[in-house]
Amino acid sequence: MNKMKVQLQVSWLRMKLAIWILIAAIAVSVIANFTINMALGSDPQQDAQDIAAAVGELRELTGNNDLSIEVPSEMENVNVSSANMLLILLPLLAIILPLKTFRPMMNFGDSRRRYFAGLLGVYAVSAIILALVNSLWWPFEQNVIRTYSQTYNLIEVFDWEQFGFIGAFLYQTVFYFFVLTLFNLLFSGLKSPISWILWTVLIAAIPIGTSIASLRVHVADFFLALLFNDSLVSAIGLNLGLSLVWIAGAWLFTRRRTF
């Protein structure tokens, strides 16, 4: 057994419970959603036709051609894609792993350097797996799930379809890696005062960035470039570039992290 395998095993032991709970929750929601839709015989297209027919009848009966029925939006059955719900794993991984695997690895006699490299390896593999799962889920979601339920998927929301299967997969991978390394930075140095400053800045940045109009434009631009980028190359560059900054910060915490 080599050290990387040990780290994978320790990571799995620490994540096991969270992963099973998440998968169980997703499964329950999928099944519940499916059965409810079946029981109600719900079909979005059918519903729209039914409503249109009903409105036509009412118009005939009342002779009022302006009559219409408004369907409140919350009545529409819209869910987040199950494959996207799996993305809750991104913050979970990057919170639990730095908090719960550092000491066991050190206790076995691991060095901080190797532990950190291994941790990045775990993040890279996780980002790839989650991107792959969502990419493979996406055609299934369009062709099967959408026949009975309305769903959202990041691929569609951020318009990553435009880059094709491989492009969407790459965009997801780098963005997931960005999220993982960001959370990892925040949870790698909880004992360090620099980390507290980082947290304060981050917490303060959200209201300030959104409330000051002149800043708001830049914040919006930033998120557009990060998520809605029309150039795949610049999107990958931005996501990976920022990831490198988070990684460098996390390493500064980890190399001085005490047991």
Partner: protein, 292 residues
């Protein structure tokens, strides 16, 4: 004898209290050492520093000839902590497998033999083990690692007498065949008295005494008799502890007594006896405290 660990002027304080204070220590190869001291004497802080877990405020640490830089961990070292951090939902056999990856001298055959010796069920999960069994998993790893520097912090915590003996016997047996440097940190002196060659007595972050155990047995004396006579006899000698009752008194004296010294003592009606080790250590630590 080549040096395995060299510690110079090591210091660490938490707030205003000095956990470790200008501590020096030299360990050479193929020796079993004891680090003795009460709970809170600074033993664990010291061990965490020499194994790179926490960082000293000052001083130098050299392990196997290379200086230990801040953030590094020493090579060829196995440190078994008092409180282990093996994942609770891992099985005993998995923990052993995992530990083996970090120790190039690991002996898998020996490890599986020790499972039997220490009565550990390899299929049990760590969180289902008693405190003593948990200690034993750590001890097993420490022994099977055969690391040139192996450190045990309170290895017999939670163990019954039988298992303590079994651990120390196994340690001695394996050490005889595979000599290495072993540092046993404990507050229980009785059992390690014959196992270790040298002891460091630690109190309030400092080493009070570093000595071969056999030397201590030779040098520690309990002298008793009439108070006045006793006073003249112990003058100029290192008195660790003294007590008076009426005209009589006793003193724990540390140092070599020549044949002549003994004759003089006897002729003056003083009795000279040996002192059991743990009694001696207890007095020594008390003395160290009153010095403060």
């Amino acid at each position: 004898m080549s040096s395995v660990l060299e510690v110079r002027q090591l210091s660490k304080s938490y707030g205003r209290t000095d956990a470790v204070d200008s501590l020096n220590m030299d360990l050479v190869e193929h020796t079993i050492y004891g680090l003795l001291g009460r709970n809170g004497a600074g033993k664990t802080t010291f061990l965490n520093m020499i194994t790179g877990g926490i960082f000293p405020d000052g001083g130098e640490i050299t392990v196997h000839g290379s200086p230990l830089k801040k953030g590094d961990v020493p090579a060829q070292t196995c440190y078994i902590r008092e409180k282990n951090f093996y994942p609770g939902n891992a099985r005993v056999r998995d923990v052993l497998q995992m530990a083996s990856a970090f120790h190039p001298d690991w002996d898998a055959k020996f490890a599986s033999k020790l499972l039997g010796t220490f009565k550990l069920n390899p299929r049990k999960k760590m969180r289902h083990l008693s405190r003593g069994m948990e200690s034993m998993v750590g001890n097993l790893i420490g022994l099977a690692s055969r690391a040139p520097l192996t450190i045990f912090d309170e290895p017999v915590l939670g163990l019954d007498v039988l298992m303590r003996e079994r651990f120390y016997r196994t340690l001695i047996e394996d050490y005889a065949e595979h000599p290495r440097t072993i540092l046993l940190s404990t507050h229980l002196i009785d059992e390690i008295a014959t196992v270790v060659e040298q002891v460091f007595i630690m109190e309030s972050g400092s080493i009070l005494m570093q000595e071969e155990v056999e030397q201590i047995r030779e040098r520690a004396h309990l002298v008793s008799g009439l108070g006045a006579v006793l006073d003249t006899f112990v003058q100029g000698r290192r008195v660790i502890h003294g007590e008076r009752y009426g005209n009589a008194g006793m003193a724990i004296v540390y140092g070599d007594l020549t044949e002549n010294d003994r004759k003089i003592a006897e002729s003056q009606g003083l009795t000279v006896e040996g002192v059991p080790l743990q009694k001696f250590f207890a007095y020594l630590i008390e003395e160290g405290q009153t010095d403060e």
